[in-house]
Amino acid sequence: MSKPEFVYTTYIETTAEKLWHALTDGDFTERYWFGHRVASEWKVGGPYQFTKQGKPSVEGEVLESDQPRRLAYTWDACSADASRERSSRVTFDLEARGNVIKLTVTHDNLDEGGKILRDISGGWPMVIASLKGLLESGRVLDIDPTAAADKEKACA
């Protein structure tokens, strides 16, 4: 049986360079990624890390960095109950479609039924909606994803 993967595609009215910048610049990610700043030199084999209010949230190794077409990194969530799972992988593919960029986020190498799969299935649509909103209209999504996750648990 194939391992679970999460794929999310959207179309954003922007340029590939602007979208690449939005994915790799800490000042930018902090605005739409619910306070998480990314830092890296974006060299293959080098490290990257997301921090929120100075505390590490996600980290890993840069696997591919083909500006502005493809970015891939390993994904290790820095929380106690996620640390038992192995590294997963996130790949961003950016393709021009006229004046619009098709963005495909693939999160794979996930543990079946693990906490990370649950978290990211709810998380990516929020992050990408917020990113798209910031690039197109200057408005991010005003959602606290931690609170949103708690709400979904309460509903389940």
Partner: protein, 153 residues
Amino acid sequence: MPKPGYIYVVYIQAPCEKVWDALIDPEMTKDYWGRHRNSSDWKAGSRWQHEDYDDASQVAVAGMVIENDRPHRLVLSWARPESLDDPDKVSKVTFTIEEQFGSTKLTVVHSELDNEMLRGIGAGWPAILSSLKTMLETGASLPMTRRRWKSGN
């Protein structure tokens, strides 16, 4: 074996009612849904169809309204018009519209698909729903979704 399903979630900065209306208002669908319109009286049990905005005789998709609970839930059966009587070829689309933290979460579940339809809609829904979000947030849809597609959806 269960038939494959498809799910897409998008968050839109607009009220639930506005998202609901955008799904069925021809003047809005023509701009983000490949110059098509969805026509029906939208009562449960009524027929609906997805047709060319400029030529209603060109019907790409047809089905029945299964559930209508404005502005939170719309359930439609979904088939090529020539396959409406073949249960194996009739799929189901559920739109769920919920308020979340001042934003609207739209979830589209397309279930009971055959493999042919799964291939078609897997490319279609992200483009349509991305453009719907853009249109409601900026006032203008994505240009590529204002034109007709080669195939229906």
